[in-house]
């Protein structure tokens, strides 16, 4: 395979479009799940809240305005083909410029502060993004992107379970984390679970899981059935839409896994709100 040149500007334009689109247009997987839940709910307040979300997402799409004011911190999972060379710039700078233009030109909220503890000064363009890059074979760049709101991010948790905890330990930790989140993360939630790897790998898997469409299942049947089982358990919690009760506490639950150490079984739970924004592109 030959070396392929991609211009920095093309990457910038693609990233800009990803973040504007994901903040204006909710994905088909989420909108379908909300509509199904609205029909399925019996409690009037739950039906009404879900109807408000349907109306809200329609207004956002029609008027091209953000569906939630928390347009998030920009997160990107990049598969970077090893035959790609960026022309007229660097990949990192091109991505940051795309984020900058999306948040400024697209009337998205600038929610990023410089230093987490001391300065906390707004960077005014929502940069820097959080970029997870994996070098893969090929001559393309694949990007999965999402604007991650922090009302739900703050409800996330990680635990270094050990092997004897087994699948029951995984279930307990996921359900405990969701119970603790309760009405705070803008339910109905989307729950991302990362199992395996190391401490940081589990967290990354959990984030990646929130960006996978919720109408897809883990390819391993055992995890696919665990996804279903946990979602069913969560929807028995009566948290409900907006935390006001009902059968819809979560719209979806995705699990991603990775091999791990003989001594460990890390589990991370990344909570996302119903505004689970994700878009992808291949350049």
């Amino acid at each position: 395979m030959d070396i392929r040149e991609i211009s920095a500007e093309e990457i910038t334009q693609a990233v800009k479009k990803l973040f504007m689109d994901c903040n204006y247009y909710i994905g088909e997987d989420i909108s379908q799940a909300i509509e199904n839940a609205q029909k399925n709910e019996e409690l009037q307040i739950a039906k009404d809240v879900l109807q408000q979300l349907i109306d809200n997402n329609r207004i956002a799409a029609e008027e091209q305005i953000p569906l939630c004011q928390d347009t998030g911190m920009a997160v990107l999972f990049v598969e970077y083909g090893d035959k790609v060379v960026v022309k007229d710039g660097s990949f990192k700078a091109a991505v940051e410029e795309g984020v900058r233009r999306a948040y400024i030109d697209g009337y998205l909220r600038k929610s990023v502060v410089t230093d987490p503890v001391f300065d906390r000064k707004n960077t005014k363009d929502n940069t820097p993004a959080v970029i997870h890059t994996e070098i893969v074979e090929g001559d393309k760049i694949h990007i999965v992107a999402g604007g991650k709101g922090f009302g739900s991010e703050n409800m996330s948790a990680i635990k270094m379970l050990t092997p004897s905890a087994g699948v029951e330990g995984v279930k307990k930790f996921v359900l405990d984390t969701v119970t603790h989140a309760g009405p705070n993360p803008c339910p109905p939630m989307v729950v991302g679970v990362g199992i395996g790897g190391t401490f940081e790998k589990a967290a990354q898997l959990a984030k990646r899981a929130t960006l996978r469409p919720i109408n897809t299942s883990n390819p391993d049947e055992r995890y696919a059935s665990l996804e279903e089982e946990l979602l069913t358990e969560i929807n028995k919690m009566n948290i409900g839409p907006a935390g006001l009760g009902g059968k819809t506490s979560a719209l979806g639950l995705n699990i991603e896994t990775y091999p791990t150490h003989i001594a460990g079984m890390p589990v991370a739970v990344n909570i996302c709100c119903h505004a689970a924004r994700h878009k992808e592109v291949t350049i």
Binding site: N56, E63, C68, H274
Partner: protein, 174 residues
């Protein structure tokens, strides 16, 4: 659906019960994490606040920028528990209504009961819809905080739910 005004009257406030759905018209102030921290520090130092909050309403929100032709950008509620550390001091100064989403801690609820205040919630994530009930937005202070500055919103039929009433009844405790 009950109709209320902001600033709220004593009669309206006493009439609100946990779980009630209301439409609010009038004006309120916005403030979230950074503005609360500043106001809290002023109170600690015995200094005056930039706004007289006695009898007033605070909405926990940081709006997205308004597109041209819009009064305000999308502006749904942010999680209220992050303001729990600061809320009792403001309630002691006469703050009557807090609007946000999610749970409050026991200290805030006790202070609400003591001071006769209510906690209302808006639907988290319904920001584009909620913005339709905001008719005007005016910057009051802390401009340097950007989206976290204090604004005065004029609202009309803003859809809200009473989460915790002035007797401490809590919609989230079932």
């Amino acid at each position: 659906m009950k109709k209320i005004t902001f600033p709220i009257t004593n009669e309206q406030l006493k009439d609100l019960k946990s779980g009630d759905r209301v439409l609010a018209t009038g004006y309120l102030y916005t403030a979230r994490d950074a503005a609360h921290k500043r106001m809290y520090e002023l109170i600690q130092n015995g200094e005056d606040l930039p706004i007289d909050i006695n009898g007033q309403t605070i909405y926990y929100v940081g709006a997205a920028p308004a597109k041209p032709g819009y009064a305000v950008g999308p502006c749904g509620p942010t999680s209220s528990y992050r303001m729990d550390k600061y809320a009792p001091s403001l309630l002691d100064l006469g703050l009557k209504v807090m609007i946000g989403k999610g749970m409050r801690n026991d200290e805030v609820i006790a202070s609400m009961v003591k001071n006769g205040a209510v906690y209302l919630v808006a639907i988290g994530g319904a920001a584009a819809l909620i913005a339709k009930s905001i008719k005007k937005s005016e910057l009051i202070c802390y401009k340097d905080l950007g989206t976290e500055a204090i604004y005065r919103y004029e609202v009309e039929d803003m859809p809200l739910i009473v989460a915790i009433d002035s007797e401490g009844n809590n919609v989230y405790v079932r």
